[in-house]
């Protein structure tokens, strides 16, 4: 009987109420994807329909069960796994290769990646130069222009802060997927015992790439350190230098995105390497939403600390009732807390006063953004896969 109760916990909300709360997201999804039904192509229609159903269902389940992390993870892992599929397919279709030919760089046809954003500011201020081989405005060859991507980044950052890393980033889903494969962490205990100062490494890499990019007038992170070049696009290998770059990309990807997440069940690249994550942490300071701990309920069991995928909790921060600055608002700690001490919180209100209201407000914004940005990537990737599949 006990195991049955554990296997089927009581629903958090009634079906009717959950449906009602899901209605705005369903309407938003329809609004986002209705235009694609006017375009020709059955594959595209199927992709859009699948995404509408997928995103709406997941949101409904969030409302129904009161859990955030596990349902968000379905979306996020799907995004991480399908983004390279669509992206690589379009690169191969347009260029015939994943590598970036020099003439494409010169003509500004490189799709803009948000990882570059922190490196742009100093050269733009000092020399009025954008150190990225892309175009400011969309062109026929490159719709992913710098202005559009910066606009999307800014809007989403204002809404979700560092929640970007768990609702928007199409790279994070890859390692979250690998972290989700094993049932138990092989070396989880060792990771928790790591020197806490290692959490500062992303900040150091951020500062390093920002100053060096200004000195060299090139996006150093993209040129030398980005693990995700392995599954997106990279400079064509034609010299020792480019071979070395490729070696670094593959090593970092294999180590930080595949092997370590698999062994630790943590997002190791996000926790210990990603400079863009550190950059996004700054915006947590101005974002309205955060996770807090009700100290009256907390029993210091550290379940939340174990659950956190990016080590954004320390014993000290929990004692203070807060997360560390790098919290990405994935909801893992809240879902894992058996005493309901970890709560969603709207800044300026009393902690644990109406945590579900704060969660709802955050999720509406975050899920709407996720549907708009990640959803369109998913729809595109599904359409691409259907297009390439031999069976129609």
């Amino acid at each position: 009987m006990a195991s049955r109760v554990l296997a089927r916990p009581p629903a958090f909300r009634s079906v009717g109420r959950s449906l009602l709360l899901t209605l705005p997201i369903a309407l938003w999804s329809l609004l986002m994807f209705t235009p694609s039904f006017r375009e020709p192509g059955r594959d595209r229609h199927i992709g859009s329909l699948a995404v509408i159903l997928f995103m709406t269902t997941l949101f409904f389940l969030m409302m129904r069960t009161g859990k955030t992390y596990q349902w968000r993870r379905w979306f996020f892992v799907a995004l991480g796994l399908l983004f390279p599929v669509g992206f690589i397919a379009s690169l191969v279709a347009v260029r015939g290769t994943m590598s970036i030919p020099v003439e494409r760089m010169v003509s500004g046809d490189t799709p803009f990646c948000y990882m570059v954003i922190p490196m742009l500011f100093i050269p733009a201020a000092l020399a009025r130069t954008i150190i990225f081989p892309g175009s400011i405005l969309p062109t026929a060859n490159n719709p992913h222009s710098i202005a559009i991507m910066i606009g999307i980044w800014l809007a989403m950052t204002l809404v979700v802060g560092k929640g970007w890393c768990s609702y928007v980033c199409f790279f994070g889903g890859i390692e979250e997927g690998f972290a989700a494969i094993p049932k138990r962490a092989r070396i989880g205990r060792s990771v928790r015992k790591l020197d806490p100062r290692l959490r500062l490494v992303p900040w150091a890499i951020l500062l390093f790439v920002v100053v060096l990019s200004a000195a060299l007038f090139e996006p150093v992170y993209c040129m030398w350190l980005c693990p995700f070049k392995t599954v997106t696009e990279y400079p064509a290998v034609h010299s020792v230098e480019t071979a070395l770059q490729m070696g670094i990309f593959i090593t970092l990807f294999a180590g930080l995105v595949i092997v370590l997440p698999f062994l630790t069940k943590k997002r190791t690249q996000c926790a210990y390497f990603c400079p863009f994550g550190a950059f996004q942490s700054i915006f947590n300071k101005i974002n309205l939403f955060e996770i807090r701990f009700d100290r009256e309920k907390c029993v210091d069991c550290t379940l939340c600390q174990t659950a956190c995928p990016i080590m954004a909790l320390s014993a000290e921060s929990i004692r203070e009732g807060k997360t560390l600055m790098n919290c990405m608002k994935c909801g893992a700690c809240v879902d894992s807390c058996k005493k309901s001490a970890a709560v969603w919180h709207l800044k300026g209100t009393k902690v644990a006063l109406k945590p579900e209201r704060a969660r709802l407000l955050f999720l509406y914004g975050a899920w709407a953004m996720a549907t708009m940005f990640g959803g369109s990537i998913l729809a595109n990737s599904i359409a691409t896969m259907l297009h390439w599949l031999p069976v129609k």
Binding site: P196, S314, A315
Partner: protein, 232 residues
Amino acid sequence: MVVVPISTGAGEALLLGLATGPVCLASCGPVVLPWMLVQPRGVRVQARQLSIFLAARLSGYLLFAATVWLAGSVIPRSWSGRSWLFGGVQVLLAVGLLVYAAGWPHTRCSFADSSADGSSRLVQIDEPPRSHRSRSHRSGAVTLGFLTGISVCPPFLVAGVRAAQLGSLADALLFFAVFFFGTAVWFAPFVSLGVVRRSSSFVTVARMVAVLLACWYAFAGGSVLIERAIYG
């Protein structure tokens, strides 16, 4: 060779310095920034360290100006020693950053220590005596300032070309000194780092950056030297 009168040369040097200052700032920034961040808090302290750094940089400039003028010719882009100098300075900068900014003289290993939440500490940074600390900071500023002063960045090369065209050694030195003041103006904002609150995390990050930059300079300088050694 066209000889430029110093009356026009000084104005040109100042303008050249002011105009190329952002490039100087960007190229010296990777060295200055982590160095300044590991210094104690306070505008006066930072201003003093920056002044020492800039004075050492000026001495590097003047040494270079004298060398250029005494060599009796301009330094063209094809100057054979340029890559040796460039590579050598990069490697020395790497060593300097590692030694001074990473606080190597005052670091001891302590694997037995534990932090508040039970994590082992890999390295414990000791607080050195005040006199020892300030001496070390001064020598760091002097070393790094001098090395950035003789590193052959593009604006520096332009100034070198013009200095070699001047009539006397004194004129060449004056040209470089004025050029230096033009570029130095751009470094003033670094003093504002003195108001940034220093926590242990902050200093740790600055030291990590210094180590990363040292690796980069070692790689950049080392690859130039290796290339030079192989291909001549």
